[in-house]
Each structure stands twice: as structure tokens, then as C-alpha cells.
């Protein structure tokens, strides 16, 4: 099959077991060119294991996978030349300077001569590290390290980029800036495969794969996923959110209660009857109800609802 006609990522029934534990359980999906494809799920859902199999760091126990048409079992060396990979820990060499790290990865990807000079300049400007070339990576703020790691993963201009929880531990401002960079890359045709456990980050993705306990429980765009939720959700404001959660848990017609700051998201089986139940239950418990209104479900609501539909509990 010619490479141009194959999708960047094709995965069929991919499975990885560690002893008795199945980390990734018969997962099937594919990723389109130029797409930001999000892998969403709590810690331990199998995101990192899947990425390691796709990047040739871990052999699958079962199933198949192709990256740019190349087999993840037998063509790992060729795959590695076509992908960029950034691990959770921004694994740069902390005792090397910014410039030395770029130089190292350029060398490892065979980027030399004029092209190296070009890429180096591009990375420094993209990561806004101009002037910090000679600083040891260890001393950089986490947000800088993150952008440098991204730059190093992109030194050879790979058509496919794998990011494993690229924003963990980074402050919200740096996180936003990082997503802007990712967005720009995708706009220029790079396929981005990104995992995260921050639900709010999932909004940046074109399509989302929801993973729980190694199983793929949903795959769609964030908007479509939100529409999938069947049970109505009520936003409830009270004087004591924590007290309200315990009062509402197990009330008839109430499926789930979650706190979003001072607001409660209460999943009910029927909107009108549910609002009634909530109001009465809270008043009986001596809480003041400030407002009850239907709310647009967040991705977290979607996630919880889908896990419940599967009959399981959320991990993590």
C-alpha cells in the first residue's frame, strides 16, 4: 500500500497485557491527517501504554497498528524516523544546555548542515528560548522545558507527533500557550496525537477517544460527545455544596452528583421531576437552594455518564 493513501494512525484490536493485568484492551481507532486527536482518560486508563506501542517503545500483546502505513511490530525503526515523541517527563538532558539538547536530537534524527541551522532557529523562536541557548536545561522553568522538549521532538519535522500528557504540572498560562502551538502545527498539516487527563484541554482536540480501564468507550468530536449524553444535568447552587452532595446522593431519580466549584452538577433521569426532587431533598436537609437550571454537560459529565453506561466505575 503506498504511504500517501494510508492514514497517519490505524489501530485494530490493539491489546497489551502485563501479567494478569490488561492495560490496553482491544482498542480500535484511526487518526486522520492534520487532526488533533485526543486520548482522554484518568490515570491508569491505558493512554501511555497505547502511545508507547504506537511509538515503537513497547510491543503489543495482541492486535495490529500502523503508523503512516508502517507496522508497529516489524517496522519500528522506520516509524521512529517519521514521528516525534514527547514523554510525560519532558525527558531532555538536564545537564546539557538548550543548544546542546537541540544539537543532540538533530544529530539523532540526522538533521545536519544548513537544515540544522534552520531547524535550530525555528525551535528557538517557536519555544521563545532565543537568548537562553547556553542555559542548562535543569535551571529552566517547567513551561520552558516543555516547549524545548516539543521543539526537540519536532527537529526533523515529523508528519506525526505523539504527546504524552504534555501539559502535566505546567501552569495554566503556559498550558494555553502550548495548545496554541499545537493548534498551529495541526494547521500546517502535522497530525497530533495527544493524551491528557485534563478534561478542559480536551476541547482543543478535533476528535476525542475516551479511555477507561484500557477500553475505548467513545470516539467523537467534543461537541458530538456532549450531545451523546442522554440524562439531563441540573446545575444546582446552594449555600453548602459539600453538604448538598451527601444529601442528594442516593435520592430517588438522582443518578450522579459532582461538584464544579460552588455549583453541583446533578444528573437526573428526568429534568422536571428531577428538579422537584432536588429542591425538596435539599430543603428537607436544611439547605438553601439558590438556583436550579439545566446545564450544558461538560466533557467530564460525558465521561462519567459513558462510564456509567458501560456499567463500570471510573479509575483514577
Amino acid at each position: 500500500m503506498p504511504e500517501s493513501s494510508s492514514l497517519p494512525v490505524e489501530v485494530h484490536e490493539l491489546t497489551r497485557r502485563f501479567g494478569d493485568f490488561t492495560a490496553v484492551d482491544h482498542v480500535t481507532f484511526d487518526v486522520r491527517e492534520g487532526e488533533i486527536f485526543g486520548f482522554l482518560g484518568p490515570n491508569g486508563a491505558g493512554k501511555t501504554t497505547t502511545i508507547k506501542m504506537l511509538t515503537g517503545l513497547l510491543a503489543p500483546s495482541e492486535g495490529e497498528g500502523r503508523i503512516a502505513g508502517l507496522d508497529i511490530r516489524t517496522e519500528r525503526a522506520r516509524i521512529k524516523r517519521r514521528i516525534g515523541y514527547m514523554s510525560q517527563k519532558f525527558s531532555l538532558y538536564s545537564d546539557l544546555t538548550v543548544a546542546e539538547n537541540i544539537e543532540l536530537f538533530a544529530g539523532l534524527y540526522g538533521v545536519t548542515g544548513e537544515r540544522f541551522e534552520e531547524r535550530r532557529a525555528w525551535i528557538l523562536s517557536m519555544s521563545e528560548l532565543e537568548g537562553a541557548e547556553d542555559r542548562e536545561t535543569e535551571d529552566l522553568p517547567l513551561g520552558w522545558k516543555q516547549r524545548l522538549a516539543l521543539g526537540c521532538a519536532l527537529v526533523h519535522e515529523p508528519p506525526i507527533l505523539f504527546l504524552d500528557e504534555p501539559t502535566s504540572g505546567v501552569d495554566p498560562v503556559a498550558r494555553r500557550r502550548f495548545w496554541d502551538l499545537i493548534d498551529g502545527l495541526a494547521r500546517h498539516g502535522t497530525t497530533v496525537f495527544v493524551s491528557t487527563h485534563y478534561m478542559e484541554e480536551a476541547e482543543y482536540c478535533h476528535r476525542l477517544a475516551l479511555l477507561n480501564r484500557g477500553r475505548l468507550i467513545a470516539l467523537d468530536s467534543p461537541g458530538a460527545l456532549r450531545k451523546r449524553i442522554v440524562e439531563p444535568i441540573l446545575g444546582v447552587k446552594t449555600d453548602d455544596a459539600a453538604g448538598a452532595v451527601s444529601a442528594l446522593s442516593g435520592a430517588p431519580g438522582v443518578l450522579d452528583v459532582a461538584m464544579f466549584g460552588r455549583t453541583l452538577h446533578v444528573t437526573v433521569d428526568d429534568a422536571a421531576a428531577g428538579a422537584d426532587t432536588v429542591e425538596r431533598t435539599l430543603e428537607r436537609a436544611g439547605r438553601t437552594v439558590e438556583a436550579i437550571e439545566p446545564v450544558e454537560p461538560s466533557l467530564e459529565d460525558v465521561f462519567v455518564s459513558l462510564v456509567r453506561a458501560e456499567g463500570g466505575a471510573v479509575v483514577g
Partner: protein
């Protein structure tokens, strides 16, 4: 094999090494320190053997014999004993290493043709090594003294004198034996220790995974990591060789080029072993400890550095064939002291080549799970 990738690894390794004080000390300070320290501390030369004398003959001849011992420079007479009862006390109390007992009638026996003049030497055997050496000295002195007595006397039979001569190290200076072997021992330790740190560090810091995600191959990583340490190892050997010559006056009779070639083989093996250990245990602390035990003890005990391999029990002797330092010790001693060339050292060269190949193979195989061939 891609030279660009190999060079990228080698350069990175060199920069990391330069910034790591611990590695720098290990690479550049420790070898010379060990050479000087051990070079001065270890010596098997036995001088000033303390002696007590029980002279029951009291003749000019007996005094001449005592003087001959003192004049040799190896013995000093600490006490003159009065009676045989004092002998035990001298030895038990470690006051002297030996007692020379000249019985009454010594001079008369010496003068009488065809008669032997027995003199007893009692040695403290609790330090067997020193005692053996003292015995040899005493034998030699007595023989020479006896020969002179014969010549002065009117014997008709020409005395058969056994003339022992030691080759290669005519003064039997143990330092000349120690320094070349010491260089071999030091390099066994340093080489494995240096690389023991390098791969484990990648695991501890999580960079191995990043490396594994690039197209770099195992052999490129191994060779790239090996290259700077090999350069350092060769530099260390050069420095210790020069120091050995300048500080200890060790003679250098052989080919420097041959030494360099064989040293390279040995270092590749030892460095590879360090990488293997490092990759197997994935912890810097554990890797250095294992590297230490796996190289230091065999290199000191079983390489022929301290103990003569020929006189080892058969089992230990068999084990020494597995110790690469054994061959390297033979090589350094051979080249330094005997000035021998490849025609003599080829078995060692062959075995060290085997060791180098083995070291590289082990190192490359060690992380086959993480990196593609």
C-alpha cells in the same frame, strides 16, 4: 550504523562527563592517585630483617659469619643471647623475625676438612612470605660465606657454587613488578566504573525512553558512549605509564604502540562490561557497586598482580583464565620489563580481543528490549 547519530551520542556523553564532577575525578584524578598510593604502599622488598644471635662458639669465625649477615644489608642483629632458653621468648614475643644459633665447635668444624659446620636459623613462620624471603637471603649469604671459607681454606675439592640470577628484574625490585600490573588493575576498575554510571543515569532520569523513541540503534548508543571513555582510558594509561617511569623508575623496554593497541582491546572489553552492568541493574549506585566488585577483587586477587597464578590451587587457576585483567597484567609486565612483542603476547592479544567482542556484545544486547538493532 549511522555516523551522525553515533557522533551525536559521543558528543553528548562528553559534555555530560565534563559537567559531572564525580566522573571527572574518577576519570582524571583517581588513576594517578591510585598509582602513587599503591606504588608507594605495596612493596615486597624485605630489608632490615631483625635477628637475634646466640653465639656459643665465640670465635673469630663465628663473629665473621655474623658480620657477613649484617654486611648484607638485609639483616640487623638486634640482640645477642646468652643461653638457648632465651630463643623461644625472642620469637614468641615477635621481638625478632629470626634467631641465628651458632653452636659450640663451629670454627673447629669449619676448619676440619670434609666436615660440615652446621648453623641453625630459626625463623618466625607466621609471616610466611617474609620468612621465605629471609630464608633465601640467609641461604645466599651462608653459601657465599662458605665459599669464601673454602677458598681461604685448603680444600682440594672445588666448591660447587649455585649462582642464582634473576632475569628481567635484576635487583628483584618488587616495585618494577608492581607498577606495570598496577596500571592494569587500576584501568580494570576505572573503566568499568566510568561506564557503569552512564546508562543507569539515562534510566534514572527518564532520558532512555526519549532516546529509544529516536531512530538511534543499540550499537550506535553503545559505541557513542564508549568512544569518549575509551579516549579517557587511553589518556589515563599514558599518564600512569609516564608517572610509573618518572616516579618509580619502572623500566619501559617494549613497544609503546603495542601497549596502546592491547590497551584499547582491554578497555573496550572493560567499558563494555560496565555498560552491560549499568543496563542490567538500571541504578547508578548499584551499578558502580557491582562494577567495583566484579572488577576490583578479581583484578587484585586473581590477575597475578599480588599472587602468583602458577602457585594457585587448580580451581582458582582455572578461574583466572576468566579474568581479563590477568591477560592485561601479563601484557603490561611483558612490555615494560621484558620488552616482548606481539610474537610472545599474541595469545593474550587474542583473548583480549575476545573479551572486547564479548564486552560489546553484552553491552549491545543489554537493552535490546528498549532499542532496535
Amino acid at each position: 550504523m549511522d555516523v551522525t547519530r553515533l557522533r551525536a551520542i559521543a558528543r553528548k556523553e562528553w559534555v555530560q562527563l565534563k559537567r559531572d564532577t564525580r566522573s571527572m575525578i574518577l576519570a582524571f584524578v583517581l588513576p594517578l592517585f591510585l598509582l602513587v598510593f599503591f606504588g608507594y604502599a605495596i612493596s615486597w622488598d624485605v630489608n632490615d630483617i631483625r635477628l637475634a644471635v646466640l653465639d656459643q662458639d665465640h670465635t673469630q669465625e663465628s663473629r665473621e659469619l655474623i658480620e657477613a649477615f649484617e654486611a648484607s644489608g638485609y639483616f640487623t642483629v638486634e640482640h645477642y643471647l646468652e643461653s638457648a632458653d632465651d630463643v623461644d621468648g625472642q620469637l614468641v614475643g615477635h621481638r625478632v623475625l629470626g634467631v641465628m644459633w651458632i653452636p659450640p665447635g663451629y670454627a673447629a668444624d669449619l676448619a676440619a676438612p670434609g666436615r660440615r659446620a652446621p648453623v641453625q636459623l630459626l625463623l618466625d613462620g607466621s609471616d610466611a612470605n617474609t620468612a621465605t624471603i629471609a630464608l633465601n637471603y640467609a641461604d645466599a649469604i651462608a653459601a657465599r660465606h662458605g665459599a669464601r671459607a673454602l677458598l681461604q681454606g685448603r680444600s682440594l675439592t672445588a666448591p660447587i657454587s649455585l649462582e642464582a640470577r634473576t632475569w628481567y628484574n635484576p635487583n628483584l625490585e618488587s616495585r618494577n613488578m608492581i607498577v606495570p600490573a598496577l596500571i592494569a588493575v587500576i584501568m580494570s576498575i576505572i573503566a568499568a566504573m566510568l561506564t557503569a554510571l552512564t546508562i543507569a543515569r539515562e534510566w534514572e532520569r527518564g532520558t532512555m525512553e526519549q532516546l529509544a523513541s529516536t531512530p538511534v540503534t543499540r550499537l550506535e548508543v553503545v559505541l557513542g558512549k564508549l568512544a569518549p571513555y575509551l579516549a579517557i582510558g587511553l589518556f589515563d594509561v599514558a599518564v600512569t605509564v609516564v608517572a610509573g617511569i618518572l616516579l618509580f623508575g619502572t623500566p619501559m623496554n617494549g613497544s609503546v604502540l603495542l601497549l596502546a593497541v592491547l590497551t584499547t582491546l582491554f578497555l573496550i572489553g572493560a567499558l563494555g562490561l560496565g555498560i552491560f552492568i549499568s543496563a542490567a541493574v538500571k541504578s547508578q549506585v548499584l551499578a558502580t557497586q557491582i562494577a567495583m566488585v566484579a572488577t576490583y577483587l578479581p583484578a587484585v586477587l586473581l590477575s597475578g598482580f599480588l599472587f602468583d597464578i602458577a602457585s594457585m590451587p587448580i580451581v582458582l587457576k582455572g578461574i583466572t583464565f576468566l579474568i581479563p585483567a590477568r591477560y592485561y597484567v601479563t601484557v603490561t609486565r611483558g612490555i615494560f620489563l621484558k620488552g616482548v612483542g606481539a610474537t610472545v603476547l599474541w595469545p593474550q592479544a587474542l583473548l583480549m580481543l575476545l573479551y572486547a567482542v564479548l564486552g560489546l556484545t553484552l553491552a549491545t544486547r543489554a537493552f535490546r528490549k528498549e532499542l532496535d538493532a
